[in-house]
């Protein structure tokens, strides 16, 4: 198993390198640069700034410089936020993004599985319809709209929860952003769960168990849930990575610091280092998550062998 994990990691390196390279050159070929603002900089000033960030070197030299630094764990400076380097920004933003994503993940996975199971058990009866509808709303409404509406409704009209911002340690401030993130995730999980549960409930061994006279509760807990979890588990990795990259609109609207927001702001401002740094971080996380999911999957499903 260790060898399998090791091989997986090893094979990801070239792809990651290609992705970083592609990003690097696409960014540099794009029009506009980090110092193009509303007002023209005097040529001498511009030349000095460019020299300071090595932007005056040939592109290839810059590339190897970047890779060299990267190998030493240095993601370089931010060219737009003065006095911060990329690692510092990530160390500020990532905990926020991660906290939100993990909260949303745990809550949504629990609710989603439960809703999916209930819907499957009551297939085509009213609990099924109600749950499916409640869940679909979260999936189908774009999250930036959901965020704006919830903010208006629960933050401004009802004043139940803060309309945005962050006070460290306050669960209260997390409620709206986590809801917006969690809802669609719960929706997807419950759809998967419902589908696979219905399938499992129709299989011969569940029928056999029932015919043995086993109570419905026991049938579910002993025979149905574990196999029904398989597709859900295989979605958890992509699901969490979706939450991590999908937090952007939430961060923007609720005014939270987070790497999603850093990424977009940086891409728009041509803050090359931050764009690359956050992309690398995301890739790293997603690769790790997928590996973990595969290992969990193998544990759940004895049929899978490590290739």
């Amino acid at each position: 198993m260790l060898a399998y994990a090791f091989r997986r990691v090893l094979s990801a390196i070239p792809i990651a390198l290609i992705a970083v390279t592609a990003c690097f050159f696409i960014l540099r070929l794009a029009p506009g640069g980090p110092f193009d603002g509303e007002r023209a900089l005097p040529p001498t000033v511009l030349a000095n700034l460019r020299a300071h960030y090595n932007l005056d070197q040939p592109l290839v030299v810059q590339y190897f410089l970047y890779i060299w630094r990267l190998l030493h764990g240095d993601l370089g400076p931010s060219m737009v936020i003065d006095g911060f380097n990329v690692s510092q920004l990530i160390s500020i933003g990532f905990p926020f993004t991660l906290t939100m994503a993990l909260c949303a993940f745990v809550i949504a996975t629990a609710i989603g599985m439960l809703a999916g199971m209930v819907a499957a058990v009551y297939q085509n009866k009213w609990p099924d319809y109600v749950l499916v509808l409640a869940v679909m709303v979260g999936v189908l409404i774009p999250n930036f709209l959901m965020a704006a509406l919830l903010q208006l409704w629960f933050g401004v009209y009802l004043k139940w929860v803060p309309a945005g911002g962050w006070v460290s340690g306050s669960v209260w401030h997390l409620i709206l952003p986590v809801t917006v993130l969690a809802w669609p995730h719960a929706g997807r999980i419950s759809r998967l769960m419902r589908g696979s549960m219905i399938e499992v409930l129709g299989t011969n061994y569940v029928r056999t168990a029932r015919s043995k006279g086993l109570g419905e509760r026991l049938v579910l807990s002993r025979h149905a849930i574990k196999p029904a979890l398989l597709p859900v588990v295989s979605y958890l990795g992509p699901g969490l990575s979706y939450l991590l990259t999908g937090s952007l609109a939430v961060e923007q609207i609720f005014g939270l610091p987070g790497i999603g927001k850093y990424f977009v702001t940086a891409a728009l401002n041509r803050d090359y280092g931050v764009v690359l740094g956050t992309t690398i971080l995301y890739m790293f996380i997603i690769l790790a998550l997928n590996l973990i999911v595969d290992l969990v999957y193998a544990w759940l499903d004895p049929k899978v062998r490590y290739r």
Partner: protein, 540 residues
């Protein structure tokens, strides 16, 4: 535990956390600051959202009062020589950086040298170019910084020599480019001196925390000379670019002041929160540049005239934007200091002719220029991505349609947009200019012919590459004119020449848009839209 009890527990915990966070600090100002500050270093700052933070923690020789007029700051008094070129400043007693080091004239000399040092790469160094030799140092022509016209006579006395008498110089000294920096720290930490763990200040507030993407937090400086009159103990400068979300948070009571609001909500604000929205003329002009380089369609003045005269400016502010910005026909915003009386302000004749006639005349001009219904002119109109810019572009495109101009809209992010403007890679482009100091030269310089630097033309912010010898001549004549009235007349003449030649299309005069909670007092509307926290107070 049932669901309801769990919910109650969470609610109680949250309420307690909320109460504790308000009880812990005395008076906290929650200021919506808009953009994310790119820096806390006064020499590198460039936005008003940076100014709001920096101006609270560092104070220059002069500072702003509640109405943003220049008043004594770190300098208690000053003398001006009779020819108006030598200023001698006397610093206050007992002023110090927050680490206990005294603020000396040397810090100012150091700061000005650092500002003009090309290696600092200060965006706005040019604002202090009236100072002797500063421009040459900044362009690398002079490398001996001691030749700069800023000298410390002793620790308490600073002498600044100008190139020529400059009526707005004291005003310019309130700008953050003229702020002192702590020499002892900058020499020790270099650019890292603004790191929150190193930073010191001499202003009414001190930076305590900086969370990029969320907020900067400052606390009152107990050692500030006027600390006794500073009422607010703590300030949060919140980052939030989504204006609708910012207004929501204001309505939820989380922000005390908004520094911008969505124009669409203006009516709503007036109806539901009367008196809280402040829309005030702001010294600045919103305009379209036209690429007038040789070979470009718009180098033809007839087409420029046709385009400019068919922009119906009166609908833009009230209808398209909804905040009632006033139409602009000239180049110098009304209310600018050192200028001709408002009654004598530039107003073209065509502005008073009915719009239909203007359209007819424009059609004739287009025909003369070789375009017509059978041969429409296709123009690309570029703007940077923003709802308001988009609306204006859409509206103006519709206004140009009847004269046979087909407009292709093209939006891009700020960096790309200005990169294209600077490279001359556009036909019509959106731009805007907020005055750095209240003087007509600040906008008129935008239309000055570029300078030849080592074989390449540097057009600076004159994106349209408008060039008119007479205009340039008047500007340079004005720059040496000592009599303010005569100078104003020369500048007004220049403005008329540029506008009659349709150098650009001014569209409206900017307004500042703030929303201020009734809890806040001490907020005074002003044309600079600067309201320093030290003048504000907040009642619970």
């Amino acid at each position: 535990m049932t669901f309801t009890t769990a919910f109650k527990a969470i609610a109680t915990a949250g309420a307690m956390a909320l109460m504790m966070s308000t009880a812990a600090s005395a008076v906290t100002l929650q200021l919506h600051n808009g953009g994310d500050p790119g820096t806390l270093d006064p020499h590198k700052a460039s936005g008003d959202w940076e100014n709001r933070v920096i101006g609270d923690y560092i104070e220059g020789l002069l500072t702003e009062n509640a109405k943003a007029e220049a008043i004594p700051g770190q300098a208690e008094s000053w003398d001006i020589s009779e020819d108006g070129t030598v200023y001698t400043f006397h610093l206050r007693d007992g002023i110090q950086w927050s680490d206990g080091e005294p603020v000396t004239a040397g810090d100012f000399v150091f700061a000005f040298q650092r500002l003009f040092n090309p290696a600092t790469a200060a965006d706005y160094a040019y604002l202090q170019f009236p100072i002797k030799n500063s421009e040459k140092i900044n362009s690398g022509e002079i490398t001996d910084f001691n030749e700069l016209g800023v000298k410390a006579i002793d620790d308490k006395t600073l002498e600044i020599t100008l190139e020529a008498p400059t009526p707005f110089f004291l005003d310019a000294l309130t700008h953050y480019t003229a702020y002192p920096v702590p020499q002892h720290l900058v020499e020790k930490f270099g650019d890292q001196w603004t790191n929150v763990s190193n930073i010191v200040g001499n202003g009414p507030y001190l930076i305590k925390e900086w969370l990029p993407g969320s907020y900067v937090r400052s606390e009152k400086n107990p050692d500030y000379y006027d600390a006794a009159n500073v009422k607010i103990d703590e300030v949060f400068y919140h980052v939030l670019e989504d204006q609708a979300a910012a207004l929501n948070r204001y309505r939820a009571g989380e922000f005390d002041i908004l520094t911008d609001f969505p124009a669409d909500q203006y009516q709503w604000l007036q109806d539901n929160m009367p008196g809280q929205a402040h829309v005030v003329p702001f010294l600045g002009v919103y305009y379209y540049v036209m690429n007038q380089e040789e070979g470009q369609v718009l180098s033809d003045v007839r087409i420029r005239e046709a385009l400019s005269t068919t922009v119906l400016r009166e609908v833009i502010g009230p209808d398209i934007l909804g905040t009632g910005e006033l139409p602009a026909y000239g180049w110098v915003p009304p209310g600018t200091n050192n200028y001709v009386a408002e009654a004598d302000a530039y107003m073209p004749e065509w502005a008073s002719t009915p719009y239909e006639e203007r359209v007819e005349h424009a059609k004739e001009l287009m025909t003369e220029a070789g375009y017509g219904p059978d041969k429409p002119l296709t123009l690309q109109l570029r703007y940077n991505t923003n709802d308001n810019h988009q609306r204006i572009a859409v509206a103006i495109a519709a206004m140009w349609e009847p004269i046979g101009v087909k407009v292709e809209l093209f939006n891009a992010e700020t960096a790309v947009h200005y990169d294209a403007l600077r490279a001359g890679d556009f036909q019509v482009g959106r731009a805007g200019w907020l005055l750095d100091y209240s003087d007509p030269s600040n906008t008129l310089d935008l239309l000055k012919t570029g300078t030849n630097q080592a074989g390449t033309m540097n057009w600076g912010n004159n994106y349209g590459r408008f060039s008119n010898e007479e205009f340039d001549g008047l500007l340079s004549q004005a720059s040496t004119e000592l009599d303010l009235d005569a100078r104003a007349k020369l500048l007004a003449q220049a403005e008329k020449i540029a506008m009659d030649d349709f150098a650009a299309i001014p569209i409206y005069w900017y307004v500042s848009k703030d929303v201020v909670s009734p809890k806040i007092s001490g907020f005074e509307e002003n044309a600079k839209n600067i309201f320093r926290t030290r003048w504000l107070s907040k009642s619970e």
